[in-house]
Protein backbone atom coordinates (compact mmCIF):
# COMPACT_ATOMS: atom_id res chain seq x y z
CA UNK A 1 0.00 0.00 0.00
CA UNK A 2 2.77 2.43 0.95
CA UNK A 3 4.65 1.56 -2.19
CA UNK A 4 1.53 2.14 -4.28
CA UNK A 5 1.01 5.54 -2.69
CA UNK A 6 4.61 6.43 -3.34
CA UNK A 7 4.28 5.47 -6.99
CA UNK A 8 1.12 7.53 -7.25
CA UNK A 9 2.78 10.54 -5.64
CA UNK A 10 5.90 10.36 -7.78
CA UNK A 11 3.97 9.90 -11.00
CA UNK A 12 1.68 12.82 -10.18
CA UNK A 13 4.70 14.89 -9.18
CA UNK A 14 6.39 14.22 -12.51
CA UNK A 15 3.30 15.42 -14.36
CA UNK A 16 3.05 18.47 -12.13
CA UNK A 17 6.63 19.43 -12.97
CA UNK A 18 5.90 18.95 -16.65
CA UNK A 19 2.81 21.15 -16.50
CA UNK A 20 4.56 23.86 -14.52
CA UNK A 21 7.05 24.28 -17.37
CA UNK A 22 4.42 26.28 -19.23
CA UNK A 23 3.65 29.32 -17.15
CA UNK A 24 1.01 30.83 -19.42
CA UNK A 25 -0.94 27.56 -19.46
CA UNK A 26 -0.78 27.43 -15.69
CA UNK A 27 -2.59 30.74 -15.35
CA UNK A 28 -5.02 30.12 -18.20
CA UNK A 29 -6.14 26.83 -16.63
CA UNK A 30 -6.56 28.25 -13.14
CA UNK A 31 -8.53 31.21 -14.48
CA UNK A 32 -10.69 28.89 -16.60
CA UNK A 33 -11.52 26.77 -13.54
CA UNK A 34 -12.29 29.85 -11.50
CA UNK A 35 -14.47 31.32 -14.26
CA UNK A 36 -16.84 28.35 -14.15
CA UNK A 37 -17.35 28.75 -10.42
CA UNK A 38 -17.91 32.48 -10.93
CA UNK A 39 -20.55 31.62 -13.55
CA UNK A 40 -22.39 29.46 -11.02
CA UNK A 41 -22.30 32.30 -8.54
CA UNK A 42 -23.52 34.85 -11.09
CA UNK A 43 -26.40 32.57 -12.05
CA UNK A 44 -27.44 32.10 -8.43
CA UNK A 45 -27.11 35.75 -7.50
CA UNK A 46 -29.05 36.88 -10.60
CA UNK A 47 -31.82 34.40 -9.87
CA UNK A 48 -32.01 35.10 -6.15
CA UNK A 49 -32.25 38.81 -6.87
CA UNK A 50 -35.76 37.95 -8.09
CA UNK A 51 -36.87 35.07 -5.83
CA UNK A 52 -36.38 34.73 -2.05
CA UNK A 53 -35.88 30.94 -2.00
CA UNK A 54 -35.55 27.95 -4.29
CA UNK A 55 -37.69 25.14 -2.89
CA UNK A 56 -36.92 26.17 0.67
CA UNK A 57 -33.21 26.83 0.02
CA UNK A 58 -32.08 30.38 0.73
CA UNK A 59 -29.37 32.17 -1.28
CA UNK A 60 -26.48 31.34 1.14
CA UNK A 61 -27.64 27.73 1.32
CA UNK A 62 -27.80 27.44 -2.45
CA UNK A 63 -24.32 28.99 -2.68
CA UNK A 64 -23.05 26.47 -0.13
CA UNK A 65 -24.54 23.63 -2.19
CA UNK A 66 -23.09 24.83 -5.49
CA UNK A 67 -19.76 25.59 -3.79
CA UNK A 68 -19.53 22.07 -2.37
CA UNK A 69 -20.19 20.61 -5.80
CA UNK A 70 -17.59 22.90 -7.37
CA UNK A 71 -14.99 22.19 -4.68
CA UNK A 72 -15.36 18.40 -4.95
CA UNK A 73 -15.21 18.69 -8.74
CA UNK A 74 -11.86 20.43 -8.44
CA UNK A 75 -10.34 17.36 -6.81
CA UNK A 76 -10.87 15.28 -9.97
CA UNK A 77 -8.52 17.24 -12.22
CA UNK A 78 -5.92 17.62 -9.47
CA UNK A 79 -5.69 14.01 -8.35
CA UNK A 80 -7.39 11.85 -11.01
CA UNK A 81 -6.80 13.74 -14.27
CA UNK A 82 -4.95 10.82 -15.83
CA UNK A 83 -8.20 8.85 -15.82
CA UNK A 84 -9.54 11.11 -18.57
CA UNK A 85 -6.71 9.99 -20.86
CA UNK A 86 -7.68 6.34 -20.56
CA UNK A 87 -9.86 6.41 -23.70
CA UNK A 88 -6.98 7.76 -25.78
CA UNK A 89 -4.60 5.20 -24.28
CA UNK A 90 -6.95 2.33 -25.14
CA UNK A 91 -7.56 3.69 -28.61
CA UNK A 92 -3.85 4.01 -29.37
CA UNK A 93 -2.86 0.80 -27.61
CA UNK A 94 -0.74 2.74 -25.13
CA UNK A 95 -2.04 0.74 -22.19
CA UNK A 96 0.64 -1.82 -23.10
CA UNK A 97 3.22 0.15 -21.13
CA UNK A 98 1.40 0.33 -17.77
CA UNK A 99 0.53 -3.35 -18.15
CA UNK A 100 4.18 -4.36 -18.31
CA UNK A 101 5.31 -2.20 -15.38
CA UNK A 102 5.38 -3.66 -11.87
CA UNK A 103 2.71 -1.37 -10.37
CA UNK A 104 -1.09 -1.43 -10.29
CA UNK A 105 -2.46 -0.39 -13.68
CA UNK A 106 -5.25 1.72 -12.19
CA UNK A 107 -2.77 3.75 -10.13
CA UNK A 108 -0.62 4.38 -13.19
CA UNK A 109 -3.64 5.42 -15.24
CA UNK A 110 -5.11 7.68 -12.55
CA UNK A 111 -1.85 9.50 -11.89
CA UNK A 112 -1.10 9.92 -15.61
CA UNK A 113 -1.76 13.64 -15.67
CA UNK A 114 -2.71 16.67 -13.65
CA UNK A 115 -5.23 19.40 -14.49
CA UNK A 116 -4.51 22.70 -12.85
CA UNK A 117 -8.01 24.02 -13.56
CA UNK A 118 -8.85 22.04 -10.43
CA UNK A 119 -7.04 24.74 -8.45
CA UNK A 120 -9.51 27.32 -9.80
CA UNK A 121 -12.42 25.07 -8.85
CA UNK A 122 -11.01 24.60 -5.35
CA UNK A 123 -10.51 28.34 -4.84
CA UNK A 124 -13.93 29.28 -6.28
CA UNK A 125 -15.81 26.41 -4.65
CA UNK A 126 -13.98 26.88 -1.36
CA UNK A 127 -14.82 30.58 -1.26
CA UNK A 128 -18.48 29.80 -1.96
CA UNK A 129 -18.52 27.18 0.82
CA UNK A 130 -16.95 29.65 3.25
CA UNK A 131 -19.36 32.42 2.38
CA UNK A 132 -22.34 30.06 2.44
CA UNK A 133 -21.38 28.65 5.86
CA UNK A 134 -20.85 32.12 7.31
CA UNK A 135 -24.31 33.24 6.20
CA UNK A 136 -26.24 30.07 6.99
CA UNK A 137 -27.79 29.20 10.30
CA UNK A 138 -25.80 26.17 11.49
CA UNK A 139 -25.65 24.83 15.02
CA UNK A 140 -21.91 24.10 15.26
CA UNK A 141 -20.53 21.39 17.56
CA UNK A 142 -17.43 19.16 17.39
CA UNK A 143 -19.58 16.29 16.12
CA UNK A 144 -20.96 18.47 13.36
CA UNK A 145 -17.52 19.62 12.25
CA UNK A 146 -16.23 16.03 12.25
CA UNK A 147 -19.32 14.85 10.41
CA UNK A 148 -19.01 17.58 7.82
CA UNK A 149 -15.39 16.66 7.08
CA UNK A 150 -16.25 12.97 6.85
CA UNK A 151 -19.10 13.70 4.45
CA UNK A 152 -16.86 15.92 2.34
CA UNK A 153 -14.26 13.16 2.09
CA UNK A 154 -17.00 10.67 1.20
CA UNK A 155 -18.51 12.88 -1.46
CA UNK A 156 -15.05 13.35 -2.98
CA UNK A 157 -14.64 9.55 -3.05
CA UNK A 158 -17.99 9.19 -4.82
CA UNK A 159 -17.10 11.68 -7.53
CA UNK A 160 -13.61 10.28 -8.10
CA UNK A 161 -15.09 6.76 -8.30
CA UNK A 162 -17.67 7.92 -10.82
CA UNK A 163 -14.86 9.42 -12.90
CA UNK A 164 -13.11 6.03 -12.92
CA UNK A 165 -16.33 4.15 -13.76
CA UNK A 166 -17.20 6.57 -16.56
CA UNK A 167 -13.76 6.43 -18.11
CA UNK A 168 -13.48 2.67 -17.72
CA UNK A 169 -16.58 2.52 -19.93
CA UNK A 170 -14.19 3.45 -22.76
CA UNK A 171 -13.10 -0.21 -22.72
CA UNK A 172 -16.55 -0.98 -24.15
CA UNK A 173 -17.50 2.23 -25.97
CA UNK A 174 -14.28 2.69 -27.91
CA UNK A 175 -13.26 5.89 -29.63
CA UNK A 176 -10.58 8.39 -28.79
CA UNK A 177 -12.61 10.58 -26.43
CA UNK A 178 -14.13 9.64 -23.06
CA UNK A 179 -17.63 10.71 -24.12
CA UNK A 180 -19.38 8.38 -21.71
CA UNK A 181 -17.48 9.83 -18.75
CA UNK A 182 -18.08 13.36 -20.00
CA UNK A 183 -21.81 12.72 -20.16
CA UNK A 184 -21.82 10.95 -16.81
CA UNK A 185 -20.01 13.75 -15.01
CA UNK A 186 -21.80 16.54 -16.89
CA UNK A 187 -25.18 15.10 -15.95
CA UNK A 188 -24.03 15.33 -12.35
CA UNK A 189 -23.94 19.11 -12.80
CA UNK A 190 -27.66 19.01 -12.12
CA UNK A 191 -26.69 18.18 -8.52
CA UNK A 192 -25.44 21.71 -7.90
CA UNK A 193 -29.08 22.72 -7.35
CA UNK A 194 -31.36 21.38 -4.60
CA UNK A 195 -32.49 17.92 -5.66
CA UNK A 196 -36.03 18.66 -4.54
CA UNK A 197 -36.66 20.87 -7.59
CA UNK A 198 -36.51 17.87 -9.92
CA UNK A 199 -39.23 15.37 -10.70
CA UNK A 200 -39.48 12.08 -8.90
CA UNK A 201 -37.75 10.15 -11.70
CA UNK A 202 -34.64 12.34 -11.53
CA UNK A 203 -34.60 12.24 -7.74
CA UNK A 204 -34.78 8.47 -7.69
CA UNK A 205 -32.12 8.14 -10.41
CA UNK A 206 -29.75 10.56 -8.70
CA UNK A 207 -30.16 8.83 -5.34
CA UNK A 208 -30.10 5.16 -6.26
CA UNK A 209 -28.85 4.60 -9.80
CA UNK A 210 -26.06 7.17 -10.08
CA UNK A 211 -25.58 8.72 -6.64
CA UNK A 212 -24.91 12.31 -7.72
CA UNK A 213 -27.18 13.50 -4.92
CA UNK A 214 -24.67 12.21 -2.37
CA UNK A 215 -21.94 14.44 -3.80
CA UNK A 216 -23.46 17.66 -2.54
CA UNK A 217 -27.20 17.61 -1.87
CA UNK A 218 -27.50 15.04 0.94
CA UNK A 219 -24.31 16.09 2.79
CA UNK A 220 -25.40 19.74 2.62
CA UNK A 221 -28.93 18.78 3.73
CA UNK A 222 -27.47 17.06 6.77
CA UNK A 223 -25.30 20.05 7.63
CA UNK A 224 -28.20 22.48 7.25
CA UNK A 225 -30.67 20.18 9.00
CA UNK A 226 -33.05 20.08 6.05
CA UNK A 227 -35.86 17.64 5.40
CA UNK A 228 -34.70 13.98 5.51
CA UNK A 229 -31.27 15.14 6.70
CA UNK A 230 -30.41 11.67 8.01
CA UNK A 231 -29.91 10.37 4.46
CA UNK A 232 -26.74 12.47 4.41
CA UNK A 233 -25.21 10.12 6.97
CA UNK A 234 -25.37 7.31 4.40
CA UNK A 235 -22.82 9.15 2.26
CA UNK A 236 -19.77 7.18 3.60
CA UNK A 237 -21.52 3.90 2.76
CA UNK A 238 -22.34 5.09 -0.74
CA UNK A 239 -18.70 6.16 -1.08
CA UNK A 240 -17.48 2.68 -0.16
CA UNK A 241 -19.88 1.12 -2.63
CA UNK A 242 -18.78 3.49 -5.43
CA UNK A 243 -15.09 2.85 -4.76
CA UNK A 244 -15.72 -0.89 -4.92
CA UNK A 245 -17.73 -0.48 -8.12
CA UNK A 246 -14.97 1.59 -9.72
CA UNK A 247 -12.40 -1.12 -8.97
CA UNK A 248 -14.69 -3.84 -10.29
CA UNK A 249 -15.58 -2.05 -13.53
CA UNK A 250 -11.98 -1.12 -14.24
CA UNK A 251 -10.80 -4.71 -13.73
CA UNK A 252 -13.50 -6.10 -16.00
CA UNK A 253 -12.71 -3.48 -18.60
CA UNK A 254 -9.01 -4.19 -18.46
CA UNK A 255 -9.69 -7.82 -19.37
CA UNK A 256 -11.30 -6.63 -22.59
CA UNK A 257 -8.24 -4.60 -23.58
CA UNK A 258 -6.75 -6.04 -26.73
CA UNK A 259 -4.11 -3.41 -27.59
CA UNK A 260 -3.85 -1.99 -31.10
CA UNK A 261 -1.82 -3.47 -33.94
CA UNK A 262 1.54 -1.73 -33.95
Amino acid sequence: MRRTLRIYRRSLGAHLRAVLEYEADFWVLIVAGLLFQVLNLIFLSAVFAHVPALNGWSYPEAVLLAGTYGFVNGLGPLFFEGTWRLAGKINHGELDYPLTRPAPVLVQVVSGGIGLHGVGDLIGGGAMIGWGLAHSDIDWSPARIGGALLLLASSATILLSLIVVGNAASFWVGGNHPVFAMTLIRTGDMAKYPLSIYGVAVRATFTVLVPYAFISFFPASWLLDKESAWIGLLTPLVALYCAYLARLVFRHGLRRYDSAGH
Binding site: Y22, I42, A46, V47
Partner: protein, 261 residues
Protein backbone atom coordinates in the same frame (compact mmCIF):
# COMPACT_ATOMS: atom_id res chain seq x y z
CA UNK B 1 -15.44 25.22 -53.77
CA UNK B 2 -15.15 21.52 -54.45
CA UNK B 3 -12.25 20.76 -52.08
CA UNK B 4 -14.01 22.63 -49.29
CA UNK B 5 -17.19 20.61 -49.77
CA UNK B 6 -14.99 17.53 -49.68
CA UNK B 7 -13.57 18.62 -46.32
CA UNK B 8 -17.08 19.20 -45.02
CA UNK B 9 -18.20 15.73 -46.12
CA UNK B 10 -15.08 14.20 -44.60
CA UNK B 11 -15.69 15.92 -41.31
CA UNK B 12 -19.30 14.68 -41.27
CA UNK B 13 -18.11 11.14 -41.95
CA UNK B 14 -15.50 11.44 -39.24
CA UNK B 15 -18.19 12.35 -36.73
CA UNK B 16 -20.45 9.55 -37.94
CA UNK B 17 -17.68 6.96 -37.65
CA UNK B 18 -18.08 7.03 -33.89
CA UNK B 19 -21.87 6.91 -33.88
CA UNK B 20 -22.12 5.65 -30.31
CA UNK B 21 -19.88 8.49 -29.18
CA UNK B 22 -22.06 11.09 -30.87
CA UNK B 23 -25.20 9.53 -29.49
CA UNK B 24 -23.85 9.56 -25.93
CA UNK B 25 -22.78 13.18 -26.30
CA UNK B 26 -26.26 14.15 -27.49
CA UNK B 27 -27.84 12.30 -24.59
CA UNK B 28 -25.59 14.37 -22.34
CA UNK B 29 -26.73 17.52 -24.11
CA UNK B 30 -30.35 16.49 -23.71
CA UNK B 31 -29.97 15.91 -19.96
CA UNK B 32 -28.36 19.34 -19.67
CA UNK B 33 -31.40 20.88 -21.40
CA UNK B 34 -33.77 18.87 -19.22
CA UNK B 35 -31.83 20.02 -16.15
CA UNK B 36 -32.12 23.70 -17.03
CA UNK B 37 -35.82 23.25 -17.77
CA UNK B 38 -36.30 21.70 -14.31
CA UNK B 39 -34.38 24.49 -12.57
CA UNK B 40 -36.37 27.21 -14.30
CA UNK B 41 -39.64 25.38 -13.79
CA UNK B 42 -38.99 25.47 -10.05
CA UNK B 43 -37.85 29.10 -10.16
CA UNK B 44 -40.87 30.25 -12.15
CA UNK B 45 -43.44 28.34 -10.11
CA UNK B 46 -44.13 31.49 -8.05
CA UNK B 47 -44.58 33.74 -11.08
CA UNK B 48 -42.65 35.40 -13.88
CA UNK B 49 -39.06 36.63 -13.38
CA UNK B 50 -37.85 39.68 -15.29
CA UNK B 51 -40.71 39.39 -17.79
CA UNK B 52 -40.13 35.71 -18.53
CA UNK B 53 -42.96 33.33 -17.70
CA UNK B 54 -42.67 29.55 -18.01
CA UNK B 55 -43.84 29.38 -21.65
CA UNK B 56 -41.39 32.02 -22.77
CA UNK B 57 -38.57 30.59 -20.70
CA UNK B 58 -39.10 27.17 -22.28
CA UNK B 59 -38.69 28.67 -25.73
CA UNK B 60 -35.71 30.73 -24.54
CA UNK B 61 -33.94 27.70 -23.12
CA UNK B 62 -34.56 25.71 -26.29
CA UNK B 63 -33.15 28.51 -28.46
CA UNK B 64 -30.22 28.88 -26.06
CA UNK B 65 -29.49 25.18 -26.19
CA UNK B 66 -29.87 25.03 -29.97
CA UNK B 67 -27.51 27.97 -30.52
CA UNK B 68 -25.02 26.36 -28.15
CA UNK B 69 -25.23 23.07 -30.05
CA UNK B 70 -25.02 24.33 -33.61
CA UNK B 71 -21.62 24.48 -35.29
CA UNK B 72 -19.85 22.98 -32.30
CA UNK B 73 -18.32 19.92 -33.94
CA UNK B 74 -14.77 19.14 -32.95
CA UNK B 75 -13.23 21.40 -35.60
CA UNK B 76 -11.39 23.57 -33.08
CA UNK B 77 -9.97 20.53 -31.24
CA UNK B 78 -8.74 18.99 -34.50
CA UNK B 79 -7.12 22.27 -35.45
CA UNK B 80 -5.53 22.61 -31.99
CA UNK B 81 -4.06 19.14 -32.00
CA UNK B 82 -2.64 19.64 -35.51
CA UNK B 83 -0.93 22.82 -34.36
CA UNK B 84 0.54 21.07 -31.32
CA UNK B 85 1.84 18.01 -33.11
CA UNK B 86 3.12 20.01 -36.07
CA UNK B 87 0.79 18.56 -38.71
CA UNK B 88 -0.31 22.11 -39.37
CA UNK B 89 2.84 22.33 -41.50
CA UNK B 90 1.30 19.97 -44.06
CA UNK B 91 -1.97 21.91 -43.94
CA UNK B 92 -0.01 24.99 -44.90
CA UNK B 93 1.41 23.33 -48.02
CA UNK B 94 -2.04 22.47 -49.36
CA UNK B 95 -3.40 24.79 -52.07
CA UNK B 96 -6.36 25.72 -49.87
CA UNK B 97 -7.25 28.77 -47.85
CA UNK B 98 -6.59 27.70 -44.25
CA UNK B 99 -9.51 29.60 -42.76
CA UNK B 100 -12.05 28.37 -45.32
CA UNK B 101 -10.78 24.83 -44.92
CA UNK B 102 -11.24 24.95 -41.13
CA UNK B 103 -14.67 26.54 -41.63
CA UNK B 104 -15.71 23.61 -43.84
CA UNK B 105 -14.54 21.15 -41.20
CA UNK B 106 -16.41 23.02 -38.52
CA UNK B 107 -19.67 22.81 -40.45
CA UNK B 108 -19.40 19.03 -40.81
CA UNK B 109 -21.53 18.54 -37.73
CA UNK B 110 -24.46 20.63 -39.00
CA UNK B 111 -26.45 17.67 -40.33
CA UNK B 112 -26.44 15.80 -37.01
CA UNK B 113 -26.94 19.03 -35.07
CA UNK B 114 -30.10 19.95 -36.98
CA UNK B 115 -31.51 16.48 -36.39
CA UNK B 116 -30.75 16.64 -32.66
CA UNK B 117 -32.27 20.11 -32.33
CA UNK B 118 -35.45 18.96 -34.09
CA UNK B 119 -35.71 15.98 -31.75
CA UNK B 120 -35.18 18.20 -28.69
CA UNK B 121 -37.87 20.64 -29.85
CA UNK B 122 -40.30 17.78 -30.45
CA UNK B 123 -39.56 16.35 -27.02
CA UNK B 124 -40.23 19.69 -25.34
CA UNK B 125 -43.53 20.09 -27.19
CA UNK B 126 -44.53 16.55 -26.25
CA UNK B 127 -43.50 16.47 -22.61
CA UNK B 128 -44.02 20.03 -21.40
CA UNK B 129 -47.24 20.83 -23.23
CA UNK B 130 -46.47 23.01 -26.23
CA UNK B 131 -44.06 25.71 -27.23
CA UNK B 132 -44.45 29.37 -28.12
CA UNK B 133 -44.39 29.64 -31.91
CA UNK B 134 -43.58 32.96 -33.61
CA UNK B 135 -45.57 34.38 -36.54
CA UNK B 136 -44.22 33.90 -40.09
CA UNK B 137 -42.37 37.23 -40.15
CA UNK B 138 -40.57 36.68 -36.87
CA UNK B 139 -39.93 33.05 -37.81
CA UNK B 140 -38.12 34.19 -40.95
CA UNK B 141 -36.04 36.72 -39.02
CA UNK B 142 -35.22 34.04 -36.47
CA UNK B 143 -34.20 31.56 -39.18
CA UNK B 144 -31.79 34.08 -40.73
CA UNK B 145 -30.22 34.94 -37.40
CA UNK B 146 -30.01 31.28 -36.42
CA UNK B 147 -28.10 30.52 -39.62
CA UNK B 148 -25.72 33.39 -38.89
CA UNK B 149 -24.89 31.85 -35.51
CA UNK B 150 -22.89 29.04 -37.14
CA UNK B 151 -20.30 31.27 -38.89
CA UNK B 152 -20.22 33.62 -35.90
CA UNK B 153 -19.42 30.79 -33.53
CA UNK B 154 -16.83 29.51 -35.99
CA UNK B 155 -14.93 32.81 -36.07
CA UNK B 156 -14.90 32.98 -32.27
CA UNK B 157 -13.70 29.38 -31.94
CA UNK B 158 -11.13 29.88 -34.74
CA UNK B 159 -9.66 33.00 -33.17
CA UNK B 160 -9.54 31.26 -29.78
CA UNK B 161 -7.83 28.21 -31.24
CA UNK B 162 -5.06 30.35 -32.67
CA UNK B 163 -3.95 30.82 -29.07
CA UNK B 164 -2.39 27.37 -29.56
CA UNK B 165 0.43 29.01 -31.49
CA UNK B 166 1.50 30.60 -28.20
CA UNK B 167 0.35 28.14 -25.51
CA UNK B 168 0.79 24.38 -25.16
CA UNK B 169 -2.62 23.55 -23.79
CA UNK B 170 -5.88 24.14 -25.60
CA UNK B 171 -8.24 22.92 -22.88
CA UNK B 172 -7.88 25.91 -20.58
CA UNK B 173 -8.19 28.38 -23.44
CA UNK B 174 -11.23 26.59 -24.82
CA UNK B 175 -12.92 26.45 -21.43
CA UNK B 176 -12.23 30.09 -20.67
CA UNK B 177 -13.80 30.92 -24.04
CA UNK B 178 -16.81 28.70 -23.28
CA UNK B 179 -17.31 30.37 -19.90
CA UNK B 180 -17.17 33.86 -21.40
CA UNK B 181 -19.44 32.94 -24.31
CA UNK B 182 -21.95 31.25 -21.98
CA UNK B 183 -22.13 34.28 -19.74
CA UNK B 184 -22.24 37.10 -22.31
CA UNK B 185 -24.34 35.34 -24.96
CA UNK B 186 -27.28 34.94 -22.61
CA UNK B 187 -27.02 31.15 -22.54
CA UNK B 188 -26.45 31.16 -18.78
CA UNK B 189 -29.34 33.47 -17.98
CA UNK B 190 -31.26 36.03 -20.10
CA UNK B 191 -29.12 39.17 -20.38
CA UNK B 192 -31.98 41.25 -18.95
CA UNK B 193 -31.58 39.44 -15.63
CA UNK B 194 -27.84 40.12 -15.34
CA UNK B 195 -26.66 42.83 -12.92
CA UNK B 196 -25.87 46.15 -14.62
CA UNK B 197 -22.07 45.76 -14.43
CA UNK B 198 -22.34 42.60 -16.56
CA UNK B 199 -25.24 43.66 -18.76
CA UNK B 200 -23.17 46.67 -19.93
CA UNK B 201 -20.29 44.67 -21.44
CA UNK B 202 -22.73 42.04 -22.71
CA UNK B 203 -24.48 44.68 -24.80
CA UNK B 204 -21.33 45.71 -26.69
CA UNK B 205 -19.59 42.32 -27.01
CA UNK B 206 -20.21 40.07 -30.06
CA UNK B 207 -21.45 37.17 -27.93
CA UNK B 208 -24.99 38.52 -27.49
CA UNK B 209 -25.53 37.80 -31.19
CA UNK B 210 -25.15 34.08 -30.47
CA UNK B 211 -28.08 33.52 -28.13
CA UNK B 212 -29.77 36.76 -27.09
CA UNK B 213 -30.45 37.92 -30.68
CA UNK B 214 -32.05 34.71 -32.02
CA UNK B 215 -34.04 34.37 -28.79
CA UNK B 216 -35.31 37.96 -28.95
CA UNK B 217 -36.41 37.39 -32.55
CA UNK B 218 -38.05 34.06 -31.74
CA UNK B 219 -39.95 35.44 -28.75
CA UNK B 220 -40.95 38.59 -30.62
CA UNK B 221 -39.18 40.87 -28.12
CA UNK B 222 -37.56 42.63 -31.07
CA UNK B 223 -39.76 43.48 -34.05
CA UNK B 224 -39.61 45.71 -37.13
CA UNK B 225 -36.58 47.98 -37.38
CA UNK B 226 -35.19 46.82 -34.05
CA UNK B 227 -35.15 43.25 -35.37
CA UNK B 228 -33.38 44.30 -38.54
CA UNK B 229 -30.86 46.29 -36.50
CA UNK B 230 -30.07 43.22 -34.41
CA UNK B 231 -29.59 41.15 -37.57
CA UNK B 232 -27.31 43.81 -39.04
CA UNK B 233 -25.22 43.85 -35.86
CA UNK B 234 -24.97 40.08 -36.02
CA UNK B 235 -23.90 40.07 -39.67
CA UNK B 236 -21.41 42.87 -39.00
CA UNK B 237 -19.79 40.82 -36.22
CA UNK B 238 -19.43 37.84 -38.54
CA UNK B 239 -17.57 40.00 -41.09
CA UNK B 240 -15.45 41.87 -38.54
CA UNK B 241 -14.37 38.67 -36.79
CA UNK B 242 -13.79 36.83 -40.08
CA UNK B 243 -11.37 39.49 -41.31
CA UNK B 244 -9.94 40.06 -37.85
CA UNK B 245 -9.09 36.37 -37.74
CA UNK B 246 -7.06 36.78 -40.95
CA UNK B 247 -5.01 39.54 -39.36
CA UNK B 248 -4.32 37.42 -36.26
CA UNK B 249 -3.48 34.43 -38.48
CA UNK B 250 -0.66 36.38 -40.12
CA UNK B 251 0.93 37.08 -36.73
CA UNK B 252 0.22 33.58 -35.42
CA UNK B 253 2.04 31.98 -38.32
CA UNK B 254 5.21 33.77 -37.27
CA UNK B 255 4.89 32.28 -33.77
CA UNK B 256 4.59 28.74 -35.11
CA UNK B 257 7.22 26.32 -33.86
CA UNK B 258 7.43 22.83 -35.32
CA UNK B 259 10.07 20.50 -33.92
CA UNK B 260 11.79 17.91 -36.06
CA UNK B 261 10.18 16.50 -39.17
Amino acid sequence: MKPYLGLLRMSTRRILTYRLNSLILWIGGATFLAGSLAVWHALLSEGAIGGYDWDQMKAYLLVGWATASIGSAYGDWWMASRIFDGHVATDLTKPLDYQWARFSEHMGGLATEFIAITIAATAIVTFTGGLVVPGPGQALLFAVSFLLVAPLKFTIAYITTMACFWTQNFMGVSWAKDAIVTLFSGALIPLALLPAWLAGPAAVLPFASITATPAALYLGQATGWEALRLLAVQAAWVLVLWWGARLIWRRALRALTVHGG
